[in-house]
Amino acid sequence: MSEGALTTLEADAADRISFGGASFVPLVSGGLFWPDENALLVADLHLVKLASYAKRGQLLPPYDTAMTLRRLDADLERTGARELIALGDNFHRDDGPLDLLEADRERLARMAERVKFTWVTGNHDENPVGFAHHGVQVMRRGLTLTHHPVRGGLTIAGHLHPAAHIAINGASTRRRCFVHDGTVMVLPAYGSSTGAMNILGPAFRGVFDRARLDVRMIGRDRVYPVSPKRLITGWDG
């Protein structure tokens, strides 16, 4: 890690997430940096999502992939991570790798030359065509890194696209978030084309011990730890 990057990250030390005996740095981009492993964890990139609608006659702007990859590049640069661990739904569809635009394909290839890719599969990309992957999970320092959040053991996962909705002083706001309960952590969706779901909603039923929630909401310029008692179900809960 470069000097500059180190100081930036050290300044945020108070906002680190302690989980499974390790210390993590949540980034405004939605990525999670793991200093001990020198790895960047991301979930739900959903690459080549908007372009995948073209076959059905919906010619949506094909720039989401480039936006996601550019943010990834910047995160890798800033953290100095040597490894990228992508926790599934990295492509929106199995045939995503075939539909990559040339510029995006090249950027991804350059990235893979610089850092090690640990490519876990998800439900959208169980078998990404022509793309080397590592199956449904990998283990690191006793932690299971996988797509689907399941209880049992210490797990870091994605899949659910968590968002928190809080109300305070009469104002309410809804943002993507990192969330864990000491046993299971779910990362926010990283892809530029993704939406999000309220962590108090039905999709999260049974995932967490709600009495022990640790929630970090992503603001414009920083990540905010918020009190779980401020969470509201809001309209989609």
Binding site: A51, P61, M67, S172, T173, S192, M217, G219, P225
Partner: protein, 825 residues
């Protein structure tokens, strides 16, 4: 051309004779001219529109479509069909008349395409649909006349843009066709005449204007009660309104928003000791319920209907003897239309009553009264054409047949809204339709249009035509959810968990957006009941009956027309001219006198800016009278500038008349000591970079983009029942906007969005005009306390949406609280 003997006989048997404007249309038709008929309601405009057709087809009409009638309302098409039946059957004319709307059975619609009637009555959307079929040249080729009803209301919207393109196509398929347009009185009739002349160059378009009949008899409610300082409910007037309803046969009570309709209906119902039949009509109620009210009204079974603009146009109800406008009239033309709903007979005066719901509205009612009496018009002019509607039309034309770009471009320029379209923009839109129009040429192999060797464009696949037909039209509904009544879970007792009950009756529909602002347990008025929000279950909003003194009011989108520029001038003049105050109720005149004594009166050609402290905060209030939308935009931009000037603004609130910004710094002091220059603060250059910077983050752009993207065919419409099949797109339009805006801010759809936002929600033009007008004429009045004129806007804080940086600040507050909690452990 003389009237056909059978028609002449029909007139004389009824003791009638054709009126001058009806004969005028007949003469225009004989001279092969188009005609614009401008006449008030009740003048027999419809018959004028059809007289040349009846006359021409009275003997052995040839097969094929002769006259196409287009109206903005389905119901109007049905009603006109019924009205035409009378002369046709009574005069024994061999003419076939049929209607065609979205409700017409598919079998009949298919038959109509093969075997058209002589007269077809339809809507702009159905016209677009018919034109997209390959048999359009045969179907439309025989047309001699196109009748456009209520044209004044169509041309101010995107439906008018679509209609203009359809009419331009008919003009090419049937060059002999002539247009007869029917319109209410408008501010600039010649613009409307240009609109119908554009598709038929070289053909005269004759203006046939009928001066209005008896002048309307209008009064402002002279209440014994105190007129409130602010608010829109007119609660104070309910007992008087009830007494008025009792004295009349049938009263139409117009309000400006659906939530006002709900509230007024509720209070009238509470006051209804005699159990009078009173109805409620607005756009959120279930369709069946609205139809029941309309039917009861037509049969004369109702004594009063509380309604919104949903009843502005439409079917004639002879029995209405009083129209009441509750709340701000907003515009003179709008009032003339509404007042025309009373007594649809030309020779008798319509009767109307204005009921202001607050003090500023008293001034507005007075200005409107003077304008209406003088017959002044302030209707909106037709709008120029957008790229989104153009994209839809171009795809439709490709569905009908391969098109030659040069010819299609020339044809489109014949539509008045697109008269200035550049070839470059036309080509950009064709490219958008074909491949999405992205600088990154990613979709050549999925192109919807293919260029043929002869240079023409055709659709790549028949499925594209099917897709087009499902997405036709320019009316984009806000995403709506059904509101269903279920058994409550008892929020009062603090139990907010447990399953939500199922089943129960559907109360109506409401914008999905509204529910994003609610938290379970919140209460609001809906369908005249107080209900509590329980939660969303599969795209339905579950609510339960609730008892609450202070229900949140549905903040429906739309329905809030801004104060017209014309009436704004009237209000400014009234305020600045003490000689006219005797016209006003004493309490309002006293209020203005007090303002003159303790502060200043706003003058027509300057801007009054008051500053004063109140509690821990400092306020800046000014009075541009430019309407809520322009004020909101101004408030947003000023807040940004004040932030830069370290005035530490916290929020602002806007009304039609004034707006207030509050903050921590002493803004009055900053201005007095020259550290804050009002001339710089209000400089026109705010419409440059500051506007751009704000648009970058503004939710308004996202909302506007969704409409453009759906109309242009980038995003498919949601079709009821199809949501779950997975065939519908599930990417949010916000995501698409963000991706496109960041990468291609000059994309044709972003340009369309920007244009719509500027003229719609932002009202940029009006704001620009005002900034020019007041340039270097800003008067600062520092005060040690609130002024009388500032009271209404400060009372609006808490009732109206307050704008400000509430988003990240809420996160900071929550985080700080967590830290405090951790430190005190």
């Amino acid at each position: 051309m003389p009237l056909h003997p059978r028609l002449a006989q029909w007139f004389s048997e009824r003791g009638w004779s054709p009126r001058a404007h009806q004969l005028g249309v007949l003469a225009a038709d004989e001279d092969r001219a188009s005609a614009l008929v401008i006449a008030p309601t009740g003048a027999g405009k419809t018959l004028a529109g059809f007289l040349p057709t009846l006359n021409a087809l009275a003997d052995a009409p040839p097969a094929g479509l002769h006259t196409l009638y287009i109206s903005p309302l389905k119901a109007l098409a049905v009603d006109v069909a019924r009205n035409l039946e009378a002369p046709i059957s009574e005069a024994g004319l061999p003419i076939r008349v049929e209607g065609r709307t979205g409700d017409t059975p598919a079998s009949r619609r298919a038959r109509q395409r093969l075997d058209p009637p002589h007269i077809l009555l339809t809507t702009p959307e159905q016209l677009a649909l018919l034109l997209s079929h390959s048999n359009a040249p045969e179907f439309f080729g025989s047309i001699k006349r196109v009748v456009l009803d209520e044209l004044h209301s169509l041309v101010t919207s995107k439906r008018g843009e679509l209609l203009s393109l359809g009419v331009a196509r008919i003009a090419r398929l049937a060059p002999e066709m002539r247009i007869t347009a029917l319109s209410a009185t408008v501010a600039h009739p010649h613009v409307l005449r240009d609109w119908i002349a554009a598709p038929l160059p070289g053909v005269e378009a004759r203006l046939i204007a009928l001066k209005g009949g008896a002048a309307p008899d209008i009064a402002i409610l002279d209440s014994v009660e105190r007129v409130p300082w602010s608010g829109h409910s007119a609660q104070y007037a309910v007992p008087e309104l009830y007494a008025i309803i009792k004295r009349h046969r049938t009263v139409l009570l117009f309000v400006n928003t659906r939530s006002q309709a709900e509230m007024l209906f509720q209070s009238l119902w509470d006051a209804n000791e005699d159990g009078l039949p009173i109805g409620l009509h607005h756009g959120s109620l279930a369709v069946e319920q609205r139809r029941r009210v309309e039917a009861a009204m037509a049969e004369g079974r109702l004594r009063a209907v509380v309604c919104t603009s949903t009843l502005d146009l439409g079917i004639d109800w002879g029995d209405v003897d009083l129209v009441v406008q509750i709340g701000a009239p907003k515009g003179s033309s709008r009032m003339l239309q509404r007042i025309g709903r009373a007594n649809h007979r030309l020779d008798e005066p319509s009767r109307a009553l204005f009921v202001p719901s607050n003090r500023f509205e008293v001034l507005e009612c007075e200005a409107a009264l003077l304008a209406v009496k003088a017959g002044e018009q302030d209707s909106e002019d037709p709008v120029s054409g957008g790229f989104d509607v153009l994209a839809q039309h171009i795809l439709g034309m490709a569905c009908a047949d391969a098109f030659e770009p040069e010819a299609l471009y020339a044809e489109i320029r014949g539509a008045w809204p697109y008269r200035d379209l550049s070839r470059l923009d036309f080509d950009r839109v064709v490219d958008f339709v074909s491949t999405g129009g992205y600088a990154l040429r990613a979709y050549e192999r999925y192109a919807k249009l293919r260029k043929m060797p002869d240079g023409r464009f055709r659709i790549a696949h028949p499925a594209i035509a099917q897709q087009y037909r499902l997405n036709i039209g320019t009316i984009v509904e806000e995403p709506m959810v059904r509101v269903r009544l279920v058994r409550g879970r008892g929020f009062k007792s603090g139990r907010t968990t447990g399953p939500i009950g199922r089943g129960g009756r559907v109360l109506g529909e409401m914008e999905e957006y509204f529910f994003t602002t609610l938290t379970p347990g919140d209460t609001f008025l809906f369908g005249s009941e107080v209900v509590a929000f329980e939660g969303m279950v599969e795209n339905e909003a579950m609510v339960s009956r609730a008892v609450a003194k202070d229900p949140k009011i549905p903040s429906y989108m739309g329905g809030r027309f801004p104060l017209s520029t014309f009436l704004a001038e009237g209000v400014r003049r009234l305020v600045a001219t003490p000689e006219s105050w005797p016209l006003l109720p004493d309490q309002v005149a006293d209020w203005l006198r007090l303002q003159r004594d303790v502060s200043l009166l706003p003058q027509p050609d300057s801007l009054l800016v008051e500053t004063f402290p109140r509690g821990a905060q400092n306020y800046l209030v000014c009075y541009p009278f430019e309407g809520r939308l322009a004020h909101q935009t101004l408030g947003m931009l000023l807040t940004r500038r004040l932030e830069r000037a370290r005035a530490r603004p916290l929020g602002f609130v806007a009304s039609d008349y004034s707006f207030a910004i509050w903050g921590l710094a002493d803004m009055g002091g900053l201005i007095r000591t020259g550290r804050l220059s009002l001339d710089e603060l209000f400089d026109e250059d705010m419409l440059g970079d500051d506007l751009e910077a704000w648009l970058d983050e503004s939710a308004l752009m996202r909302r506007t983009f969704r409409n453009c993207a759906i109309i242009a065919g980038l995003i498919e419409r949601r079709h009821p029942g199809k949501e779950k099949t997975g065939r519908q797109i599930t990417v949010s339009s916000d995501v698409i906007y963000d991706v496109l805006y960041q990468h291609e801010p000059d994309h044709v759809l972003i340009e369309a969005t920007r244009r719509d936002a500027a003229r719609g929600l932002l009202d940029i033009e009006r704001l620009g005009d005002m900034l020019k007008r007041i340039k270097r004429h800003i008067v600062h009045k520092p005060l040690d306390r609130i002024s009388p004129l500032a009271v209404p806007i400060l009372l609006d804080i808490g009732k109206e949406p307050v704008f400000g940086e509430a988003r990240d600040s809420a996160l900071t507050a929550a985080a700080d609280e967590l830290i405090r909690e951790a430190m005190n452990r």
